[in-house]
Symmetry: C2
Subunit: 213 residues, 2 copies
């Protein structure tokens, strides 16, 4: 054990271990960083097989983030995990409407989830929006409905809810469809995974432009 | 898919699926709820084998929480995931010192991690304290040092950092020792897992005393 190792070195060593244990597997450009960061966040190599990407989604999402896209999460936990210092350098912000009283009141009145209502609030945001959904299948379902009705046109939907009920199906809605996506197929995911994917996108821009993390 | 299912029913169904897939496995009283909630949070059944508990730790920790123990986390993400409404009903609070400027300055000056310094700040807290560590091995190592030197006497250390460097070893420090612990043996864990364990403890009190979640 080496408790005096610097955080940057720990991360570098961790990624080297992940690369080694992936045993020479290769992934499309841009996707590899994301897959490895999710494994780094979870120590779960299932994500090497679970994560699916729509065509060119990494390139388009990093371009939008570079220009200050807004990120919407479905939990304050995912919001807390996003590197807002880096996001802020590009002029972007991250928001979550889940804890707002209005959202809770409206959800109760209409008999739907707060997550679904919070997505409707997010639909009113102007400019490019990336949705990072790590918890609520109902958020994903509502996003899919609104996109189908042309009420929203997201740059990217990160769809990585975790769980046992409605989760798998809500993610399958997106796969192969027109809405740009990064989906963790199956039951696995979480707010930490959603945040890790956002951060991996941000760090790709950093790496490309020669910033120090 | 049934997107109109109520959150309470989704949780109930999810736990039923988890119980079924655990195939009749039994766990000691109090530990079962925690193990199942961690699986619910991660969809990862490895935790049925990974989680290890010191003797009587669940009983002692729930008793302390019932009396308003303070929870200290090593990330704002874990802090965000803890159910502060329930915690607050018992008079408890959750804190994280990681984002404080003083902590960052001191860590830089001393050449140690912010996580280690943040544990020293937490050591000054009065009353019963539960540490919920989901990210930093250096936080666990510092807690172990301070407990050995009798500078702290925690009610419970939840030791569930995730990762590939120093993580496994930092957790093994506690197993079989005198400091009350709940540890996720091996590489797996995370801020979401730390929060889930805290919430499982809180919900046990709720269930025992007949509160509605």
């Amino acid at each position: 054990m080496n408790p005096t190792m610097k955080p940057a070195d720990i991360e570098k060593n961790s990624f080297a271990i992940i690369t080694k244990e992936l045993g020479g597997r290769t992934f499309p450009e841009g996707q590899e960083d994301i897959i490895k960061r999710v494994i780094h966040t979870s120590a779960d190599f299932d994500y090497a097989d679970n994560l699916v990407f729509s065509p060119d989604v990494v390139q388009k999402a990093t371009e939008a983030l570079r220009q200050g896209a807004t990120i919407v999460t479905d939990t304050n936990m995912a919001l807390a995990g996003i590197n807002k210092t880096v996001l802020g350098k590009f002029g972007g912000q991250a928001v979550c409407f889940m804890a707002e009283k209005q959202v809770a009141d409206e959800a109760k009145k209409r008999g739907i989830t707060r997550a679904a209502v919070s997505m409707e609030y997010a639909a009113k945001l102007e400019g490019a929006v990336i949705f990072a959904i790590g918890n609520a299948p109902t958020a994903l379902i509502r996003l899919h409905e609104m996109a189908a009705a042309r009420e929203i046109s997201p740059v990217l939907v990160i769809g990585v809810p975790v769980g046992f009920v409605n989760v798998v199906e809500s993610k399958e809605l997106f796969i192969g469809g027109d809405i740009p996506y990064i989906i963790a197929r199956g039951r696995k995911g979480g707010s930490n995974i959603a945040a890790a994917i956002v951060n991996a996108l941000l760090y790709q821009i950093y790496a490309r432009e020669g910033f120090e993390k």
